[in-house]
């Protein structure tokens, strides 16, 4: 009886399913099973059959026996390979990937939101899709011990990628090491793998099967807020056990304040021990409170200032959270530590940014100059950036960066670009003075433009100070200006030019930014415009406005007074300050009585262009001829006269002695005149 009984419902359900298929087929009225599986297998049962996918040759043999015994054995080929429906045989190659979500939509959705799904949609070649875990034609139910997703198989399935040395573990940012190894040694792994307890947790018990998310994600099953709920799925009454320490329900409600399970029971390494004894900070301080404690290897001081730690941002973080890898069962739990503190295990996003930055790239190359987290943030005394004592507090950041980037320091030494004396220049700039002299913490400092962790050279297209990104970087504070600028002719999305279009720094500079209402800046801006608009700037300096500004006065029309500063448009654009509708009111800003005729004044006129300005050209040459003619006449007349006049004077001075007798006083006064 016992052996027959289970077969009854299975037999019943398969008969019911066959009936269902027949009914659906007949009701739909179309031959939906036009391609029977046997049609497909006519070819695909050939073991040597090969096909192509994306240019690669692949085996397309389908094992009929395995497929028949798989959970999908009763389905038609075309219910998964839907793109072959009603196609003539033999069909085209390069089939569309099978979409499991057609039937398994809930799982599909969870997967697409998960770490794996996101990596897949990014095109990460290491990202797993359905078939990487479940297989293809040979999918077995999880209840089948042979299934890849059978309870006992799961650690090895996940371990394919997450074991030490696997590409994922090496090339992707996974903050846990020796996962499979540690798990298999843990109390969970021991129960599952050695004792064969199928109720012992496997990977999916904590991480879920499809909704795998990083622990930093608030909706992750292993996130700080949810980890208690995940553990209590099995350890239902654990609250009572921990009541003394965590006061029951507070544990779950304020997961951010109180320790979470993993703070004591390290993931993948959980053992049946009294962690409160081995893992508490005070146990670390038993040795590290000693002021003379030194490392045996390099003699560096290992003393920990408890006051410093207590006032730090991490005062609620236990030692072992950062110094991971301790083994509470040892007398010296720290002797099992093999790796340096990895801040990214909590600050995952920041860690990823850092890795992509120039600083992180240098670190990856083991460059001795590379700054790590602690170079900027410190170690045990780490403070939040809003704490004025912190080195990362806004007003302290320039000094922090200056440690390496000041002229003569290590970063400045290896720098090959064109920006020099940046620390000094910044200090003199409007931003630097705002920050340091006025103490405005909202003023732009180093990280406001360069970002804190994503620091990249301006040549990198991902850099916040790359030409493409600069307007939005400056626009984070100067948003109104950015709005105008992105609409202007200088914006890369609008302006069409062979020359490089200007961005903020081309006119305002990078580190020497001055107030725009400063005299010097106002005068300087004309040469800035003139760097690209060479001819138009030259002709501007030929007119009254240009001449006055050339003398060093700003109370005259400069480029931006007429063309606008950030909202420059083509003159032909109706939005331009100089368009037909706007030009008169633009002139009226300075010349209240200006009319349309007045606006006809040529502000960029030159008398050197007979084509464009014939009136000016001919007036100029008319006047010049008059000048040359008059001077030639006067000059020749004078030059011809000179010898005769000298002759006269010589004759007269010969007569002087005669005159002296009659009029000595007169002639002596004349001599005096000559001498004076």
């Amino acid at each position: 009886m016992n052996t027959v009984q289970p077969n009854v419902p299975r037999l019943f359900s398969s008969i019911a399913f066959l009936w269902f298929v027949v009914i659906v087929a007949s009701l739909s009225g179309t031959p939906c099973l036009a391609q029977e599986n046997s049609d497909c297998l006519a070819c695909h049962s050939d073991k040597a059959l090969a096909g192509t996918r994306k240019g690669k040759t692949i085996a397309v043999f389908v094992d009929e026996k395995k497929f028949g015994s798989s959970i999908h054995g009763s389905l038609a080929c075309i219910s998964c390979h839907t793109d072959l429906e009603k196609k003539e045989l033999p069909h085209e190659e390069d089939l569309a990937p099978v979409n499991c979500g057609t039937c398994h939509s809930a799982e599909q959705e969870l997967h697409s939101k998960s770490l794996h799904g996101k990596a897949l949609s990014r095109g990460d070649p290491l990202a797993p899709s359905c078939k990487d875990c479940h297989g293809t034609h040979d999918i077995l139910p999880s209840s089948n011990p042979k299934s890849t997703i059978a309870v006992l198989q799961i650690p090895f399935l996940c371990g394919k990628c997450h074991q030490e040395g696997a590409p994922v573990q090496r090339q992707r940012t996974i903050h846990q090491d020796h996962i499979l190894e540690n798990f298999s040694e843990s109390i969970h792994g021991e129960g599952l793998l050695r004792k064969g307890l199928v109720v012992a947790p496997n990977c999916a018990s904590c991480h879920t099967a499809h909704a795998i998310l990083p622990h930093t994600d608030p909706s992750s099953s292993i996130g700080r807020r949810n980890i208690a709920a995940t553990c209590t799925k099995c350890h239902a009454l654990i609250e009572q056990v921990h009541r003394k320490i965590i006061k029951g329900e507070l544990w779950e409600k304020e997961g951010n304040v109180l320790p979470a399970c993993v703070d004591c029971h390290q993931p993948h390494k959980v053992r049946k021990v009294f962690y409160t004894q081995g893992m508490a900070d005070k146990d670390c301080l038993r040795c590290h409170d000693n002021k003379d404690l030194k490392a045996s290897k390099d003699g560096r001081l290992l003393f920990i200032h408890t006051e410093e730690l207590a006032s730090s941002r991490h005062n609620k973080t236990s030692c072992s959270q950062c110094h991971a890898g301790v083994n509470a069962s040892r007398v010296r739990p720290c002797e099992t530590i093999t790796q340096k503190v990895d801040c990214a295990s909590c600050h995952a996003e920041v860690g990823q940014q850092y890795q992509k930055s120039t600083h992180g790239a240098l670190m990856a190359k083991n460059d001795p100059n590379a700054p790590t987290c602690k170079e900027c943030h410190g170690t045990h005394g780490v403070l939040g950036k809003l704490n004025p004592q912190s080195a990362t507090f806004a007003t302290n950041v320039p000094d922090l960066c200056a440690r390496c980037h000041r002229e003569g320091q290590k970063a400045a030494m290896r720098y090959t670009g064109g920006q020099h004396g940046i620390i000094e220049r910044y200090a003199e700039s409007i931003h630097g003075r705002g920050l340091k002299k006025s103490g405005l913490t909202v003023t732009a400092m180093c990280t406001s433009c360069h970002t804190a962790h994503n620091v990249l050279p301006h040549t990198d297209s991902l850099s916040s100070v790359n030409t493409q990104n600069l307007p939005s970087t400056c626009g984070r504070c100067h948003h109104g200006i950015q709005e105008q600028f992105v609409q202007s002719i200088h914006a890369t999305s609008i302006g069409k030019s062979d020359k490089k279009l200007p961005v903020c720094s081309d006119c305002h500079s990078a580190h020497t930014i001055r107030r725009a209402d400063e005299e010097g800046f106002k005068l300087d801006i004309m040469t800035k415009c003139g760097r690209c608009h060479v001819d138009i700037a030259k002709t501007y300096f030929d007119t009254y406005h240009g001449k006055v500004s050339q003398l060093g006065y700003t109370k005259t029309a400069k480029c931006y007074d007429c063309h606008g500063a950030h909202d420059i448009q083509k003159v032909s654009d109706p939005r331009s300050h100089l368009s037909r509708d706007n030009v008169v009111s633009t002139c009226q800003k300075c010349h209240p009585g200006a009319t349309r005729r007045f606006a006809g004044y040529l502000t960029h006129a030159t008398h050197h262009d007979p084509e464009k300005y014939p009136f000016l050209f001919w007036t100029f040459w008319g006047m010049t001829s008059l000048l040359i003619g008059t001077f030639l006449f006067g000059g020749i007349h004078t030059l011809l006269w000179l010898p005769r006049a000298l002759q006269m004077r010589r004759k007269r001075s010969k007569k002087v002695p005669d005159k002296n007798d009659t009029n000595p006083e007169n002639s002596s006064s004349k001599e005096n005149d000559g001498a004076s």
Binding site: Q550, T556, T595, R597, M623, T638, R644, E665
Partner: protein, 281 residues
């Protein structure tokens, strides 16, 4: 005794009003030239310094306009003086314009000019110049031309909003070119040709102060303007024009003023040459 008498007997060539007007003319002309040049040659360093000296471009502009009004005023005053003189000395405009002492060119000037050229080339004696030589007349008439041209374009630049009610905007550009080039002509001519003809030519070197004192020694009149001297002797009117010379303090003051004007004039010439030859972009 005779010495004193000799000194007393100087010929009065210019009336008090004419002398005052010339001083006003010098002051206003120099001011106009200096302030205007700062703009014309704004690309030179001296223009920047000069502009600063005048208290900036706006204050230089005020000085320029005040001086312009002064010059227009003296022009008007000269017209009034001409009308009065016509009534007193000539009776009609016709008599004045075509009389022997006219300021306008006539046949005699053409003769004098040709004779002068011959004299320059050593082919004849020095002509017997009259009361007004042709180069003096040229200077005088040039002022009329200059004031008309520079004054009218200057008004356009002063009141562009009013002038563009009638003229198109580019007239202002044209006016700028005419104003500045005509001014360059005036400044250049006065500080070179006029300076030479009047002050620097060897007979007068270093300066002729008759325009400030109004009087010149008789023997100088005799030598310089023989025809006028003869006419005065013949008509017997010489006595009417003989006046006492100024005391030395006046002469010294006048000379100081003259030196200043000459120095400014020459500086301007040097600056212009520098700007046009060495600094021109």
């Amino acid at each position: 005794m005779e010495r004193v008498k000799q000194e007393e007997r100087q010929y009065q060539r210019f009336s008090r009003l004419n002398r005052v007007l010339h001083v006003v003319m010098i002051v206003s002309f120099m001011s106009l030239a200096l302030t205007g040049m700062t703009l014309k040659f704004s690309y030179t360093q001296w223009a920047v310094i000069l502009s600063r000296f005048f208290g900036g471009f706006e204050s230089a502009g005020y000085i320029h306009r005040v001086a312009a009004v002064m010059m227009i005023g003296l022009f008007a005053a000269h017209f009034v003086d001409l009308t009065r003189r016509k009534r007193r000395e000539h009776g009609t405009w016709r008599a004045m314009i075509f009389g022997p002492d006219t300021m306008l060119f006539n046949k005699r000037d053409l003769r004098d000019f040709i004779a002068s050229l011959k004299w320059f080339l050593g082919k004849g004696p020095r002509p017997e110049y009259g009361r007004w030589t042709y180069w003096e007349k040229f200077d005088y008439i040039a002022v009329f031309w200059g004031i008309t041209v520079i004054g009218s374009t200057g008004m356009m630049l002063w009141f562009p909003e009013i002038f563009t009610l009638i003229f198109p905007g580019w007239f202002i550009n044209v006016a700028t070119i005419i104003h500045s080039d005509e001014a360059l002509l005036a400044v250049g001519f006065i500080f070179t040709v006029h300076f030479f003809n009047t002050h620097l030519r060897p007979e007068k070197f270093p300066m002729d102060i008759v325009i400030f004192t109004g009087r010149m020694p008789l023997e100088e009149l005799q030598r310089d303007k023989p025809a006028e001297y003869k006419a005065l002797i013949e008509s017997g009117k010489l006595e009417e024009y003989l006046v006492e010379p100024y005391p030395p303090i006046v002469i010294r003051t006048v000379k100081a003023f003259g030196w200043t004007a000459l120095a400014i004039g020459f500086s301007i010439v040097v600056w212009i040459i520098y700007a046009m030859v060495f600094a021109y972009r």
